[in-house]
């Protein structure tokens, strides 16, 4: 790993008695896309504002480009930020917005205009310099906000949920555009979001944050396939959550009994002892359904349920079942072949999943996600 562009060293921030950021350490490699993913109120915005310099940490240090940022004001940091509501200056034209930072560095008018024009062209807004900000569409404003920051060639670009204000279709589009922009410019991006899909699609590495701490730091694949904690398993991607007690442990496989007549097998993650309250997380796409036992993989324990409803969503279609004995809900992804498109609510169906792809965690006291 080359020298990190951003390193947080045991950063702490308290608001009164509340610890918003609780001794967080991480490093972001040069030129990578790093996301901080967490529910609202987890402290991610506080962390970002400390990196930008709008808040001072109560403990620890933030190092950007090898230099400690202790006591460095936001206007002196090699960091720029794309704000949640973009914060484009409405009293200035698009060109003046992009030139703003350059003018602050004392760059002459002609060069400023040149650079701003070039940057607008690179984000696909050639010739928009003379327009007013409110003449642009949501996606175009987004690009102006990014251009305004990138024209300063910062070591680090911070993005505070910049897609939050866009409608769904545009958000999907801008997601791809952001990733392409980052690849093209090679600037290190630090991205804050509560949307796990954004974090998974965009990032090289993701820190999953909860209650002021990182639950897990890893690649999107790590988070999805090898969640470190129950919180990550529940927060990243869709999961069926089966809570119960560990009735038996065989090597790494835990037998989870729900207490209302159902039991499932799941792979142990972290310490689990017999008798512990546990939770098993099973992804809808890790499960299979079948009308006959021979339609299920033979090495997996079979379960039985009644079809509750069909959730048609194109490629993401699923069926919602109720396990026969416990009456618990369970969601299974439908195969792309359209094989089970004729399922009817109330129909009896068999389902199974690979226990090694189901994650079992001991339930921490007071853990809610």
């Amino acid at each position: 790993m080359s020298q990190p562009d951003l390193a947080a060293e045991a950063v702490v921030k308290r608001f009164g008695d509340h610890v918003a950021v609780d001794s967080i350490s991480f490093a972001v490699e040069r030129g990578s896309f790093f996301s901080i993913l967490g529910p609202s109120g987890c402290g991610k915005t506080t962390l970002l504002r400390m990196i930008a310099g709008f808040l001072a940490p109560d403990g620890g240090d933030i190092v950007i480009g090898g230099k400690s940022m202790r006591g460095v004001a936001p206007n002196r940091r090699p960091v720029n930020m794309v704000f949640q509501q973009l914060a484009l200056f409405p009293m200035m034209s698009v060109g003046e917005n992009v030139e703003f930072g350059l003018a602050r560095r004392g760059i002459g008018r002609a060069e400023r205009r040149n650079k701003a024009g070039g940057m607008l062209e690179r984000v696909g807004l050639a010739g928009a310099a003379g327009k007013r900000v409110d003449e642009l569409s949501g996606g175009q404003r987004q690009r102006v906000a990014i251009a305004r920051s990138l024209v300063l060639e910062p070591t680090l670009l911070l993005l505070d949920e910049p897609l939050g204000a866009l409608d769904l279709k545009l958000r999907e589009h801008m997601k791809i555009e952001l990733k392409q922009l980052q690849a093209e410019f090679g600037t290190t991006f630090v991205y804050i979001t509560h949307d796990q899909s954004e974090a998974l699609v965009l990032s090289d590495r993701v820190g999953v944050m909860n209650r002021g701490r990182f639950e897990q730091l890893g690649t999107p694949q790590d988070l999805y396939y090898r969640p470190a904690t129950a919180f990550v398993a529940g927060f990243v991607g869709d999961s069926n959550r089966v809570a119960g007690r560990a009735a038996g442990i065989d090597a790494d496989t835990v037998l989870v009994e729900t207490g209302d007549g159902w039991s499932v097998h799941a792979r142990r993650h972290g310490p689990v002892a017999v008798g512990d309250p546990v939770e098993a997380f099973i992804r809808p796409e890790a499960a299979t359904i079948g009308r006959q036992p021979d339609q299920l993989p033979q090495d997996q324990p079979a379960h039985e349920g009644l079809v509750e409803s069909l959730l048609f969503d194109g490629a993401k279609s699923a069926v919602l079942l109720r396990e026969t004995r416990s009456r618990r809900e369970f969601r299974v992804a439908l195969p792309q072949t359209g094989q089970f498109a004729d399922l009817r609510p109330g129909e009896r169906i068999l389902f199974s999943f690979d226990p090694t792809r189901a994650a079992c965690f001991a339930t921490a006291s007071g853990e809610h996600a």
Binding site: N75, N80, F83, Q85, R104
Partner: protein, 294 residues
């Protein structure tokens, strides 16, 4: 059953007219009518007992007598200075109330600005006289502190008039400023800092352009109040304060020369209109935008 369209319309018009009557009555009786009367008065000269002819004499007198137009220009200039001073003092106060103080604190601060205005202008100005007159609080304090040997008269100076004018105008500047600063998104300020701006640049490039309608509205109100003020310049500046409203008063009340007083009144109206229009031109704003937006 009623027919929906035509009768409804017919019912609305008289009701609307009724609603508008007080406004029109107010405008007509208190503003238009007296001004028409004054205009007629100002354009005539008395040539004999109860004998008047149309004439520009009143206006010519104004330009022929240096004392009149000097007072006129002095009033205009001091009002401009007072307006600017009020703006400079009110902006930080409005900033604190709108942006720094939170919740209750900001309400209390605004109340603190408002409370002096529960008292009449005359009483407030008399308060200043108690503080500043030769036998008053401040000159005595200066002697006690050894700064002056004898109590100095702090009244009857131009700077004293200025203090009184700024003090009396403060609230009318602070209120429009607060409302225009409150609508300024804090993230714009942060974004400007983030892009490398310092405090002064943020003020010049972000805060003032955003607050421009509020600043202009406040300046227009304060300028007009100051220009037309009578009590403050007279009480704090003394008999020879050299305020133009005093000249008008003298013409109407002391000399009983209503024609001259009316002409002066119109000149003052023309002056305030001209300066307001000039101010809007310089700052590139429109009157409707300034007064319509809060």
């Amino acid at each position: 059953m009623r027919e929906p369209d035509a009768p409804a319309q017919a019912r609305t018009s008289p009701r609307l007219a009724l609603l508008m009557t007080p406004a029109f009555a107010w405008l007509g009786l208190l503003i238009v009518l007296p001004h028409v009367e004054l205009a007629v008065l100002s354009f005539r000269a008395q040539v004999g007992p109860r004998h008047y002819v149309p004439s520009l004499l009143q206006y010519r007198t104004f330009f022929d007598q240096p004392e009149y137009w000097r007072t006129f220009l002095r009033t205009a200039w001091m009002s401009v200075v007072a307006t600017f001073a009020t703006l400079c003092l009110a902006l930080p106060i409005a900033w604190v109330i709108a942006k720094i103080a939170r919740g209750r604190a900001s309400a209390w601060l605004l109340l603190a600005c408002l409370i002096p205005f529960w008292i009449s202008e005359t009483v407030r100005t008399l308060g200043w006289m108690i503080l500043l007159r030769q036998s008053g609080v401040l000159p005595a304090l200066l002697v006690d502190l050894g700064i002056t040997a004898h109590p100095v008269e702090l009244l009857y100076r131009d700077s004293t008039i200025m203090v009184g004018l700024v003090y009396n105008s403060m609230l009318f500047m602070i209120v429009p400023l607060i409302s225009s600063l409150e609508s300024l998104d804090n993230s714009l300020i942060e974004a400007a800092y983030d892009l490398g701006a310092g405090g002064l640049t943020v003020l010049r490039k972000i805060v003032i352009p955003h607050a421009a309608p509020g600043i202009t509205a406040g300046c227009i109100i304060v300028f007009m109040l100051t220009l037309g003020d009578y009590i403050t310049p007279t009480l704090l500046g003394g008999k020879d304060s050299g305020w133009f409203t005093e000249q008008i008063y003298t013409q109407f009340i002391t000399r009983f020369n209503w024609a001259q007083g009316a002409a002066f009144g119109f000149l003052l109206l023309g002056l305030s209109t001209a300066i307001v229009v000039l101010g809007l031109k310089i700052t590139g704003q429109r009157f409707g935008d300034v007064m319509g937006r809060r």
